[in-house]
Amino acid sequence: MEVSANFIDLTLTGMVYLFIVGFVGGLVSGFIGSGGAFVLTPAMMSMGVPGIVAVASNMCHKFPKALVGAMKRAKYGQVDLKLGLVMGASAEAGVLYGAHIQEGIKKTFGDAGSNLYVSVAFVIVLAVVGGYVMRDAIRIYRSGNTQEDETAGPLARWIQSIHIPGTMVYFDSIKAKVSVLVTIPLGFATGMLAATIAVGGFVGVPSMMYVLGVPSMMASATELVIAFVMGVGGTIKFAWSGFVDIRLAMIILAGSLFGIQIGAIGTTYVKPFMIKVVMGVIMITVLFSRAFVIPVYLSQLGLIEPMTEASMKLLKNISFSIMILALVIGAGIVLKALIQGMREHKQQHGLIEEAIAAD
């Protein structure tokens, strides 16, 4: 095949690999609204796909996947379309600005500088936000009141009490008006993170839950609308320069659409705090993954003593393995919760039928 140096020859093994990673990524996305993308880009790059083509192809699979997931979860009444579109529009601006910053860093500090920036952003965001989400999930679990997160926290109540004339918009998910001057920066931060670490939802979902007071089930479903808007914009941006490898995008999509259906169905069987559990566990595990590669980039920039090629390769492999582990753990929790929920539901259903028959 001789089309462009940007596009690799695909093998059957490579296709199966991408299909499986797509499936697991889709499963997690269907449940928490995002995730999976952080593994897909490095997974494609490990097959020899140039970085920009991997990012572009990831974007091109993301928007149709998010669309299917959002439509599925809208059927369950979990999507706040207006909030998704409002945040999606500002997220789009955040994506463009985030990409601009990335380009600037790459121009000034080279690939190692750009990679270091991405890894540091990963570690800081995941440590702060992931730590908070995880702590909150543990607190709810220990309290035994697993329905608790359906009520807005103190920050969200304060935000909802702010009235700025001419900027107030009513959102169904919180049954209250919130100023777009609050939603715009949240969406912008989501987009910036998406352009930096590929998973805007790690800021988008927690910000909707804790800052706006959106129930976790609705926040994770609404994130799919934001991901759709960002995905379309991102695909246009990259396809305009011809970087999308449609084959890669469609193979990942093939797997992820199987996964996203199960993830979405899973949300109907679990208690809302499980969204926080899965999100927190994935974020904290990915945090460790990125921490392993920071010394590699510091060494490449000459900020610490130089490392041998073998050591750098080892650290990169450990990092990639932990990333895959994060996704597998997340998917495992979702599947376990789904199977358990379906079994309990079946038992309850059986008991009711027995009682009716006895009458």
């Binding site: 095949m1 462009s4 149709p64 396809a239 449609i246 093939a254 259906q261």
Partner: protein
């Protein structure tokens, strides 16, 4: 099991969606070089990968939904 969980018409619809999806994927890879040339042109041809993604997601999305439904993996009512 499938007949218990899904009416026959729904199963037929899922099968049709699956067949169309498969046909789209076969076409994508049978004309791989040509499709890549079209999608990698850049500029206004950005609509081609987007149209392909929408088309495949429509049929494949419907198929995967029906597929899990047929296997009894359904949302809680």
């Amino acid at each position: 099991m499938a007949n218990e969980t899904q009416p026959r018409s729904q199963l037929a619809r899922t099968a049709i969606m699956g067949a169309v999806t498969l046909a789209l994927y076969i076409a994508l890879f049978a004309f791989e070089e040509h499709v890549l040339k079209l999608t990698a042109q850049g500029k206004w041809s950005f609509v081609i990968p987007i149209a392909i993604a929408f088309a495949i997601s429509y049929f494949h999305g419907a198929f995967t939904g029906g597929f899990w439904d047929a296997l009894g993996v359904k949302a809680k009512k």
